[in-house]
């Protein structure tokens, strides 16, 4: 009942982008998004866009997967385009009562859609090429300096890892429970409010019961192995920047500078 493929699911393909350090990828994506939003005018957006597309090509994921993800957000894209078309003042092209489509509006709409698409591509690039565990690991390391300010970086990362780890498990469980209740004649579309609510609770109650049982078991298992937070904890896989990482980071810095200069002038 639930598709195994969702927006930006990790695809282990082993491209050069996949092999980058997760911290590098996080910084790249942040830099890319900054460049896209910094861009004013088409020239700077084309520079930022070319960089983003180059990165997407290097990931070897295939444009079709990116498009599929964007398609799931078409409503947002369409709404943005419509609002821009009607709300930006300028030369009238076509009018519908009090509302009017302007030349400037159409240009702005195209610009905003291009921006949105580039941001979606970047977001998907990150999750297509980085396993959730590596992603959390990378963000923990990036946030580590904030520990001095009292930010529990390790605990936050652990909570995120566990949540990500159990999403597929919960999906599988929900799928099984839905099927079991459907086999007992539960219907989620037909019937009155009461019977629909009952059908819904026939899924939610067992799902929550199992989730609480599971978290109890997990907490116990972690305590049994002497887990007590990040204090004094060493790690098996130490993140270490490679030559490739420096190349990509330098390129990202260059793109940011170029876009920045273009928007100034």
């Amino acid at each position: 009942m639930f598709s195994g493929l969702s927006f930006g699911q990790y695809l282990p393909l082993g491209s050069v982008v996949h092999r980058l350090d997760p911290r590098t990828k996080l910084v790249l994506v942040l830099a890319g998004m900054s460049a896209v939003f910094l861009a004013r005018g088409w020239v700077s957006l084309v520079v930022a866009g070319a960089a983003v597309m180059g990165l997407a090509l290097a990931s070897r994921v295939g444009m079709r997967s990116y498009l599929r993800g964007i398609r799931s957000l078409w409503l947002l894209v369409a709404l943005t385009a419509l609002l821009q078309m009607f709300l930006v003042p300028g030369t009238r092209l076509w009018s519908l009562g009090a509302l009017a489509v302007t030349r400037e509006g159409v240009a702005m709409a195209a610009f905003m859609v291009a921006r949105l698409v580039l941001v979606f591509v970047l977001a998907q690039l990150l999750t297509f090429t980085t396993s959730p565990v590596a992603l959390v690991d990378g963000s923990e390391r990036l946030l580590a300096p904030l520990r001095r300010l009292g930010l529990p970086a390790h605990e936050m990362a652990m909570v995120m890892t566990i949540a990500l780890r159990f999403i597929p498990v919960l999906f599988e469980e929900a799928d099984k429970i839905v099927k079991a209740q459907v086999s007992r004649g539960a219907s989620f579309q037909a019937g009155g409010v009461r019977s629909r609510l009952q059908a819904l609770s026939s899924i939610l109650v067992p799902l929550f019961v199992r989730a609480f049982q599971r978290s109890d078991e997990l907490a116990l298992a972690m305590e049994v192995r002497c887990y007590q937070g990040g204090e004094g904890r060493t790690r098996m896989n130490r993140l270490c920047l490679q030559a490739d990482d420096y190349v990509f980071l330098a390129a990202a810095a260059a793109v940011l500078v170029v876009v920045g200069v273009l928007t100034r002038t």
């Binding site: 429970i177 079991a180 459907v182 086999s183 007992r184 004649g185 539960a186 609770s201 899924i203």
Partner: protein, 301 residues
């Protein structure tokens, strides 16, 4: 008319990098015997097969027919009728209990059929007694306060209360102790004998299946590996082992004894038959006080 499968193949997530073949060109008839057992190692496609039979899954290719009606393309009342005709109990069904009392939980199925409260009450009482849960003692209890075996039987009663013609169970004995296992298998036999319910159960324990069932299907790698009576299946020990299945201990013993005693039978089902055969071959001179007549095709549980 039983359940018929014709060249059924199924691939999960077809057309994506996650595509996985679960069933391949499977053709068979199910529900011809009172109790049918489906057995195979993990990943052999047993659970997928079960979900095909009540229309939860539609095969990627091939046809499933229940009492002559194809499951493909069923909608609305026809699909509800199929799900009513074929009851499905998933593995660890106690995880699906959700109501505050056992009565309400068992009543969920029949209420979804739109039956009146009097009829629902009668169905619940019947289903609970059929799985040997005393109605007066258990009806008002919280399902989460029951023991493991009781929860399991309450969940099975939930499927039974819809009065299905076919009852499918995925690993019904998993995680139960020996006594609970025997009791549950006894309940299944009783259902078939008393109410004519055709029971199909999936297991990875060959011992349970040969003792409890009249017909056995052996699956392997998504294909049908063997089909026959328990006696016929147990005769093909080498093939079973090559398919990754463990023989029941009494068959293992029978096959070892055959090496020492020419003519020792290997199609024995259960301890009693093994004991009789040993007595016949070894202690031929000392008859038992009340030697039973040949046990024929009867499989005691």
């Amino acid at each position: 008319m039983p359940i018929e499968l014709e060249n059924v193949s199924h691939v999960y997530d077809a057309g994506t990098p996650f595509a996985a073949r679960a069933l391949h060109q499977l053709s068979c008839r199910l529900g011809t015997a009172d109790l049918t057992g489906i057995i195979g190692p993990t990943g052999s496609g047993k659970s997928t097969l079960l979900q095909m039979l009540n229309g939860l899954l539609i095969p990627t290719s091939g046809q499933v027919r229940v009492d002559g009606v194809p499951t493909r393309g069923l909608k609305g009342p026809a699909l509800r009728d199929l799900r009513q005709r074929v009851g499905l109990v998933f593995q660890f069904p106690e995880d699906q209990l959700f109501e505050r009392t056992v009565f309400d939980d068992v009543a969920f199925g029949p209420r979804n059929q739109g039956l009146g409260e009097a009829e629902v009450q009668e169905r619940v009482r019947w289903a609970m007694e059929a799985v040997q849960l005393d109605f007066t003692a258990f009806a008002a209890r919280d399902p989460y306060s029951l023991s493991g075996g009781e929860k399991r039987r309450a969940a099975i009663a939930g499927a039974l209360a819809r009065r299905p013609r076919y009852l499918l169970l995925d690993e019904p004995t998993a995680g139960l102790d020996a006594a609970g296992r025997l009791q549950l298998l006894g309940v299944m036999r009783q259902l078939a004998v008393d109410y004519g319910t055709r029971v199909v159960l999936v297991s990875h324990r060959l011992e349970d299946v040969v003792i409890a069932c009249d017909e056995v299907l052996v699956m392997c790698g998504g294909e049908l590996f063997m089909q026959g009576s328990p006696r016929q299946i147990l005769q093909r020990s080498d093939e079973l082992r090559s398919g990754g299945l463990e023989l029941p201990w009494f068959s293992e013993l029978a096959w070892s004894l055959k090496r020492h005693f020419v003519g020792f039978r290997t199609d024995l089902v259960g301890l009693e038959e093994l004991a009789d055969e040993i007595t016949r071959v070894v202690g031929a001179g000392r008859p038992r006080p009340s030697a039973p007549a040949a046990r024929g095709e009867q499989h005691g549980v």
